[in-house]
């Protein structure tokens, strides 16, 4: 091995970021492949994939001087090599040891990256792998050449014979030259797995230790000029041959050059998210420009179509398959089930469904929560399942599909289902009003109320307090919906639907005091004209509007306004008074923070078809800031 490749590379840290990112990807794929491995009949391609990933990490770690990673991945690779060659059967302990090793490499990388204060202890994981790898493979035998002598006197023939026979039992005895006389020598070659010291101590039984010479015999190898480099052709010979070959092929090459070279395969490239976001922004501008042109000069069908196509194509670049989220679930379910003493299988489908990168980040937590719920609360213990005539192992299936502009994700379990009576009892306890004979659907809705939890015991897994209400709020804040269906004894299905992207929203535009404001359509419940007499003042609450059984706080936008838009956010509902409803349309969301500065009450801005800027109202902020409800002017750009 060369002195220190990391040093010779110059600024090796320039490669660190690439290596970290790449290693994370490799480790994620190792994990997902490991979780899918069937211990009985491991898929050869999967094992090869794991091997390659680990091998890649080891290679680069070696170049960058990350010795701990090299050492662990090396043993990891040894075990994998045995597995893929079928020299060792794959069982649960192997999978577990490899998963753990993957985790340790992950933390080691986190440490190297600076996001972990302390280096993880890699010894345990390494020892486990080593043990599994060694259990089946004896160390490779080594070949020794032994010389005993010069002998002061001949060795007793019977003793020598016995010793050689004994050695033949230990290993493989090769060529021997026995000159068993005074001044002579006994020489032989021997392959065995033991250490040189062991061999020495055996021989010392027969001859004086000072007469023993043991040499290692190098394995037969073609001559090498260097351990790390082997040339199959000498440079000089190569150059001579090339000169010859060039002359011969001169004519042919000339002909080749005149033909246009075909382009290579389109392969994938990596682009930073910022570059893509810039592209998205620019296309957003273009969409606006197109709308302005259309307003001034009448519609230009071609331009409009091309603009929309371009917009779609650019948005598609930001799309990431949902497998990025799904891939974490097999492990989550496996570990949860283990911890809870349940048997749960997980099935995923539609992993290829794509959605906006920003959306992926935001739905991960709510989905994780749903999957956790399904295993923790939904699934029964194996005995209970058998007693109910169901298979011992439960199934959680997670599917994703695109329906129009939305992605629909379903988390389904075949567990015990929701218990209507318990939910009703819990609702009564909490003083909720539930009409007699409410439909199941209405009863299930109660589960989404804040602080509502029917889990009999607070479990370590799902905890207390953070429940379905949080899931619903998170999903709603993305402009999505959550629905729940359940059949007692047969299971529960939660259906989450979110828009494809966060960069464009369906919006309602409203007019207040001659200005246009934008409300995300997802937060608008209804709108209607109200008479002044419908508004009531309630002490300490400002004015309120009665909507069926509820009194909603009124947010007055300026002086006038006879139209109430009922908006809903995670903190509740409110009636927003506006002058006019302008319409519904898609708007391209622009961040105020990055273009201007953050303004409380506004979640962004957009540019309207006429080129004017319209502000997007932050519904959550408007609903929750109650104190000054009387005459709070709308935020504006100064």
């Amino acid at each position: 091995m060369s002195a220190n490749p990391a040093k010779a590379l110059g600024d090796a840290s320039a490669f660190h970021a690439i290596f970290f990112e790449e290693a994370d990807e490799h480790l994620a794929s190792v994990e997902s492949l490991l979780l899918r491995l069937d211990p009985g009949a491991p898929d050869a391609e999967a094992l090869n994939g794991i091997f390659r990933a680990v091998h890649s990490i080891k290679g680069s770690a070696g170049m960058l001087g990350f010795a701990e990673i090299v050492s662990l991945t090396h043993v990891f690779e040894n075990l994998l090599d045995l597995l893929r060659k079928g020299e060792r059967a794959l069982a649960r302990p192997e999978v577990d040891a490899m998963l753990r090793a993957g985790d340790v490499v992950k933390s080691q990388i986190a440490f190297r990256r600076g996001s972990l204060p302390q280096a993880p202890d890699m010894r345990g994981a390494e020892a486990d792998l080593r043990e599994l790898a060694n259990a089946s493979t004896p160390a490779a035998p080594r070949k020794f050449s032994v010389r005993l002598g010069p002998l002061a006197s001949p060795i007793d023939a019977a003793e020598l014979e016995m010793m050689l026979a004994g050695l033949a039992d230990m290993g493989e005895l090769g060529e021997r030259a026995i000159d068993n006389i005074a001044g002579g020598e006994v020489r032989f070659e021997l392959s065995l797995t033991g250490a040189e010291a062991d061999l020495r101590s055996v021989l010392a039984l027969v001859v004086d230790p000072t007469l023993i010479t043991i040499g290692k015999v190098a394995e037969a190898k073609p001559p090498v000029n260097d351990e790390s480099l082997e040339l199959f052709e000498a440079p000089a010979a190569f150059r001579a041959r090339r000169g010859e070959s060039r002359r011969k092929s001169e004519g042919r090459r000339e002909a080749d050059r005149s033909a246009p070279a075909p382009q290579g395969d389109a392969s994938s490239i990596r682009v930073s998210v910022e570059k893509i976001d810039r592209l998205v922004n620019l296309v957003g501008e273009l969409v606006i420009t197109e709308a302005m042109l259309a307003q001034e000069h009448g519609s230009l069908p071609d331009l409009s179509r091309h603009t929309r196509d371009l917009q779609e194509a650019v948005m598609a670049i930001r799309m990431v398959p949902i497998s990025a989220v799904f891939s974490r679930f097999p492990r989550l379910v496996r570990e949860l089930a283990q911890r809870l003493g349940k048997e749960v299988e997980i099935k995923t489908s539609g992993e290829g469904t794509e959605l906006d990168r920003g959306m992926i980040e935001k739905i991960t937590d709510p989905l994780t929560h749903l999957v956790r719920n399904a295993v923790d609360h939904g699934m029964e213990a194996p005995e209970a399942r058998i007693a109910a005539g169901k298979p011992r192992a439960g199934t959680v299936s997670i599917t994703a599909s695109q329906r129009g502009g939305s992605i629909v994700i379903e988390v389904r379990d075949d567990g015990r289902g929701l218990d209507r009576n318990r939910i009703l009892a819990r609702a009564a306890e909490r003083g909720m009003n539930v009409p007699e004979g409410a439909s199941d659907r209405e009863v299930w809705q109660l589960v989404f109320e804040a602080g509502f939890s029917t889990a009999e015991a607070v479990t370590e897994v799902s905890g207390r307090g953070v429940g379905m209400d949080v899931v619903r709020r998170n999903i709603q804040s993305l402009g999505g919906t959550v629905e729940l269906a359940s059949t007692a004894g047969a299971g529960t299905t939660v259906t989450v639907s979110v828009p494809l992207t966060l960069a464009i929203i369906e919006a309602m535009t409203v007019g207040v005091a001659g200005k246009t404001y934008v409300l995300p359509l997802a937060s608008v419940v209804e709108s209607r004209r109200v008479g002044r007499d419908e508004l009531r003042g309630i002490a300490g609450h400002g004015s309120t509007l009665r909507v069926r059984d509820d009194y909603l706080p009124v947010r007055r936008m300026g002086e006038s306004g006879e139209i109430a838009v009922i908006v809903e956010s995670e903190s509740g509902r409110a009636a927003l008074m506006v002058d006019e409803l302008i319409g519904q349309q898609q708007v391209v969301v622009k961040s105020l923070e990055s273009n201007f500065r953050r303004i409380p009450g506004l979640s962004g801005a957009t540019i309207m078809g006429d080129g004017s800027v319209a502000l997007i109202l932050d519904v959550a902020h408007i609903v929750s800031h109650q104190g000054d409800a009387k005459c709070k002017p709308l935020p504006t750009l100064q």
Binding site: S2, A8, K58, S60, F238, R242, E244
Partner: protein, 121 residues
């Protein structure tokens, strides 16, 4: 015009390291992520030298060497395998396929440059 080298490795960080070392020495470098992609590229232009990893998806390095040697244009182009695997059997396969040399990873950049210089005219 600077000499062109095709660097083939499925590990992006490794590929970048090799490419960077060669670029710093003034070579013009193209990269391919596996043997199959490398073969396609090699058919569109003739490189002055190829440095390839062995263990890669789709097509491994030794197979790439064999395929390239089948192309008349690559009859006299040095093909160097750069791999963490250094088993005698595998190396022999590489030699039979037509590899010019076999270098072990982790590699010493200076040594790699020395070799490359000798084989790129």
């Amino acid at each position: 015009m600077s000499k062109s080298i095709l660097v083939v490795d499925d590990t992006r960080s490794m590929r970048k390291m090799v490419a960077t070392v060669l670029q710093a020495a003034g070579y013009s470098v193209e990269e391919a992520g596996d043997g199959a992609e490398a073969l396609e590229r090699a058919k569109t232009r003739v490189f002055d030298l190829v440095v390839t990893d062995h263990n890669m998806p789709r097509m491994d390095g030794v197979t790439l060497v064999r395929e390239l040697r089948g192309l008349p244009e690559y009859d006299a182009v040095a093909l160097i395998v750069l791999s963490t695997e250094t088993g005698a059997e595998l190396k022999a396969k590489g030699r039979d396929a037509g590899a010019t040399g076999w270098m072990a990873k982790p590699f010493d950049p200076q040594k790699m440059l020395d070799i490359v210089r000798q084989f790129v005219a």
